[in-house]
Every structure is written in C-alpha cells, then in structure tokens.
C-alpha cells in the first residue's frame, strides 16, 4: 500500500527528541485547544472531511471534553453501565486502593503535555505526542463488556481505534514477539502511591493478541475524553481479558522478544497469570470466576454467569487454539 500522508505520525526523529507539534500542525488546519485536561477535540483537515459531526447536545457531554467519534460495528446487546458508575468505581491503585479513591484523587494527574515512548525491537525508536496519536486514525465508539478479576463487570462505550493501527505505524521488527505497556509513575502527581507494589505498572500482550482488531487503543469513553480515573489520556482496552490487563495512562510501548514483566503477575503469580483471559472454568485461588456481578443501571448488581473470553470467543479463541488455558491462566 502506497504511503499516505495519514501514515505519518509527525516527522520521524530520534528517540531523544519529542516529535514537534509544529511539524505535524503544518499539514493540518489549526485546532482549538481546550482547557487543561481536555483533549483537543478538533481533527485535522483529513478527519474533518470524513468524520460526521457526532456532537451530542446532551448536557452530560461538556464542550471541553467531547470527542469526535464515528460509530463502529462493535457493540453488545447488554445494557450499558451509566457513566457515573463507570467513572466512580475504579481500580487505579496509584491514586489509592479504594474503589472511590481514583475519582477523588486522580485530579492531580496531568494529561498535557503527554508523550508515549516507542522503543525496543522497532525499526526506529521514537517519542510520539498524544494529540498526534489521537488524530492518526478516526476514533470509533465501541461498546465492550469489561470484566474485572474481582468478579464484577460493566458495559462501557469506549472511544479509540484498533491498537494494530499504531503497532503497524511503529514497524516492529520480526524478532518482536510481545508488546509491553508502561503506566506513568510520577510521585508528585501520585501522592497516594501505595507502598508494597513494584511500580511502575506494566502489562503486556503477545504480538498476535495486540494485533487482534478487538484490542482498542483508547482515548475516551461515552463520547468524552477519558476521565483521569479511567486512565487518561491513553490506555488500552482488552475486552476478552480481566480488566487489570487493560493498562492505563500509558507512557511507553516497548516491543520485546521475551514475555514482558507485568505488575500483578509478579506480585501474585498464583493469582494473576500473563494471559488472564476471562475463563469461568478457571477460578481465582480465593474466589470463583464462574459468575460476575454486572453493574448497570439497577440498584443492586445482578449476578450473571461469566462467559468464556467474556463473550468474545468468536474473535479471539483462535489465538489460544491448542493452549492449556488452565496452565496458561
């Protein structure tokens, strides 16, 4: 496929320099810059001509935080979780270990300026600016089921594009078999950082898992930019795996030959495996994974049976053909 203007994500530069926004902006119409913490919602010339206006007039979506998104084929029949529940019940231990802590404390996270370092086994290591990444491809709205290892679940409309698009841009070498993600670690922005964990938070995927179209490089939810407590400004969402695999607030993406080190797996290897695919037949040592409490608009969560691969078996079962998923939990 011939190289298009859209295949360039800013100019190619050594990893010691940050991709200057001016170089990128030269080719695009000027974008409006919103208040601190909000992503630039405008898209460049390319995007503006292709993406229909999806701004909702609902007062839930504030002008400063809305994203331009296109609909996608990815949806589930399950009832969606209301936004206030999805944004007030979070595991983001860097901001405290209670479920309500991230919503109360993550305001100290600074999401602009933000860069993502691309390194490891790639053709050219580089550092990308978040706004460049966000406008690289149209942002789709995808409604995914989200299953926590703690046996509760939600249904959330995420906004992003397939991780595979960014991986192709990074041009990993053939020797790269895994992708590793690293979350921000900044003690000034994370004053409640708990001790006893081997920070920074890292997670990883096998290359074929990362290239699966379902893996979502995510910038928003509910048509708005990600609230800080949900992993702003950039995270991944892997709906067929337990939620802790979906790394938040990513600052580095590395391509490696060996299976990467992941925080929870190192912390408690008998409880958190590298794969951690949603599997009702493999229990957590301390609780059953056969059921989950689905958090939706009802007062009390309903207990429902957990589905293999969180119901995404059609798209991902093939990745694990022949693997003993009890051994590789």
């Amino acid at each position: 496929m011939p190289s298009r203007k859209s295949d360039r994500l800013g100019s190619v530069i050594p990893s010691s320099e940050i991709t200057p926004k001016e170089t990128f902006d030269k080719h695009r119409q000027s974008r409006r810059r919103f208040l601190t913490g909000a992503a630039a919602a405008g898209a460049g010339a390319l995007a503006a001509t292709r993406i229909p206006d999806l701004l909702r007039s609902s007062d839930e979506v504030h002008a400063a935080t809305q994203l331009q998104v296109v609909p996608s084929k990815y949806t589930v029949p399950d009832a969606q979780t209301p936004i206030n529940k999805a944004t007030n019940y979070n595991n983001f231990y860097e901001f405290g270990t209670d479920k309500s802590d991230p919503a109360h404390h993550a305001h100290t996270l600074i999401t602009r300026p933000w860069t993502v370092k691309i390194d490891g086994l790639v053709k050219k290591p580089q550092t990308l600016d978040i706004d460049a990444i966000m406008s690289y491809r149209p942002v789709e709205s995808r409604v995914y089921r989200h299953r926590c290892v703690e046996a509760w679940s939600m249904v959330i409309p995420w906004d992003g594009y397939s991780l595979s698009e960014l991986i192709n841009f990074c041009e990993p070498l053939p020797s790269a078999k895994y992708v590793e993600f690293t979350t921000l670690l900044n003690r000034k922005q994370m004053p409640d950082l708990p001790g006893g964990f081997d920070w920074p938070y890292t997670e990883g995927l096998r290359m074929d898992e990362a290239m699966n179209p379902l893996a979502l490089l995510t910038f928003g939810c509910y048509g708005q930019v990600l609230p800080n407590q949900n992993g702003a400004p950039i995270r991944v969402v892997l709906p067929w795996k337990y939620g802790f695999k979906s790394c938040k607030s990513i600052v580095k993406i590395s391509f490696t030959a060996k299976q990467p080190h992941t925080l929870w797996n190192e912390m408690a290897p008998n409880e958190y495996g590298f794969y951690s695919n949603v599997n009702p037949k493999v229990d957590h040592p301390r609780w059953s994974q056969a059921h989950e409490r689905r958090i939706d608009s009802s007062t009390f969560p309903r207990t429902i049976p957990t589905q293999m691969f969180n119901g995404y078996g059609d798209q991902v079962a093939g990745l694990y053909a022949g693997m003993d998923l009890k051994k590789f939990y």
């Binding site: 979780t81 206030n84 529940k85 999805a86 007030n88 019940y89 231990y93 270990t97 209670d98 479920k99 703690e150 509760w152 939600m154 708990p194 001790g195 006893g196 964990f197 912390m267 408690a268 409880e271 229990d283 301390r286 609780w287 059953s288 056969a290 059921h291 409490r293 958090i295 007062t299 009390f300 969560p301 309903r302 207990t303």
Partner: protein
C-alpha cells in the same frame, strides 16, 4: 455507680451501636446507596468493618477497666457491646448469602407478596451450590464462617441464666473464644483483600495491642501471686 446511671448509659450505648445500621438504612432510603456502583460490595464492607470495630471495642473493655477501680463498671456494658458485634456479623453474613451470591431477593419478596412464598426456597436452592462451593474452596470464607459460629455460640450463651446453668468456670472458658473470633475476623479480612492491599493493618495493630494488654496483665498477675505466696522470712526471737 447508680443503677439508673447504668441504665441510662446502656440506652446511649444501644443508640451508638445502632447508629451505623441506621446510617446504612438512611443511605438506602435517600437513594445514595443506589448511586454507588456496587452497593452490595459497599454493604458487605460496611457491615464487615463495623463487626470488627465493635468486636475490638468489646475486647478493649477489660484492659480499660483494669486501669482504675473507679471505671470497673465498664464491664457491665461488655455483653451489650459484644452482642452488637454479633449483630453486625450476622448482617454481614446475610449480605453475603442474600445479596452477594445471586439470591434474587426482589423476586423472593414479590413472591411473598403474591402469596407464593415457595420462591424463597427456590432461590435458596439456586444459590446453595455456589455457597457450598465457596465454603469448600475459599479459605477466607471458611475462616469468616468460623468466626461467626463462635460469635453465635457466645451470643446464645450470653443470658445470665445460661451462665448460671453452665457454671461460671465453664462459661468463662467458652467466652475466652472471643479472642479466637477476633483473630479469625482479622485473618478473614487479610485473606480477602487483593495481594498488596494493606487496609486491614490498622485493625491488626489495634487487636495486637489489646491482646498484648491481656497477656501482660496475666503475666504480671501470675508473677505477683508467686511473690505473695512465698513464705515470709522467719525471725527468730531470742
């Protein structure tokens, strides 16, 4: 300490011990609980926490009153407070059984209202396999139930006439199990949190201090007894 004052204080203590429960009902009534993404989780933790707090308060009474004979009357509130620990422990167990394990409480209530109470049993039969599974496989549930069973045994033997029937010595031995219940409760807490989470440490420290106070007192008492039991020196008169 006059009898009337004791009754008045007991009344106040009843109000204080019921306050957390009243607060929970208030949160349910004014819709705040419904706004919480996972009210079942919240209620489970709320009732669990209060069980532990009140249990620790019960254990604090004896070390406290030993500090001065003038506050010896505190022991008269120990049973009241201890029974509230059992009350919250039972709420906690009920939350686990009826809200956590998938028991469809809404349908069960509806069935009672329409005159077909059989649904209550049907729902129980539906969740029993998962509860049995939990009991057989999950250590934190086993130790939690063990703690509750102790509190239950202490609750049913708490009335004065039972104590008289059992005999003071036997009753004392049985009620020493409160230490085991408290330790089991704290272990239950450690075994259920995610690895690395340290929330139970505060309760652990307080429990350790209270148990240490008991041990110290017992050791000192024994030493004092030994000293006073030794025969006085003989002074022979010439």
């Amino acid at each position: 300490m006059s009898k009337h004052l004791i009754i008045a204080l007991k009344f106040v203590l009843h109000l204080l011990c019921l306050a957390p429960f009243a607060y929970l009902l208030h949160l349910y009534g004014n819709g705040t609980l419904a706004l919480n993404p996972d009210p079942v989780n919240y209620i489970t933790h709320f009732t669990g926490n209060w069980t532990l707090y009140i249990l620790l308060a019960t254990l604090a009474i004896t070390p406290l009153r030993r500090l001065s004979p003038r506050i010896g009357f505190l022991v008269r509130f120990r049973r009241l407070i201890g029974l509230y620990a059992f009350f919250y422990a039972t709420l906690h167990l009920a939350t686990y059984i009826f809200l956590f394990s998938g028991y469809d409480i809404v349908t069960a209530f509806a069935s009672v209202r329409t005159g077909h109470p059989g649904e209550i049993v049907t729902q129980w039969k539906f969740i029993w396999p998962s509860i049995a599974d939990d009991l057989l496989k999950r250590r934190f549930i086993q130790v939690g139930l063990f703690a509750w069973l102790i509190l239950f045994a202490l609750a049913v033997t708490s009335p004065a006439f039972i104590m008289r029937a059992m005999g003071g010595k036997n009753w004392q031995r049985l009620h020493r199990l409160i230490y085991v219940a408290a330790i089991a409760g704290v272990i239950h807490f450690w075994w259920l949190v995610k690895t690395g989470v340290r929330t139970p440490w505060k309760d652990t420290v307080i429990l350790a201090i209270l148990l240490l106070a008991r041990i110290t007192y017992a050791v000192l008492k024994r030493r004092h007894k030994r000293v006073s039991a030794s025969p006085p020196p003989v002074i022979s008169r010439v």
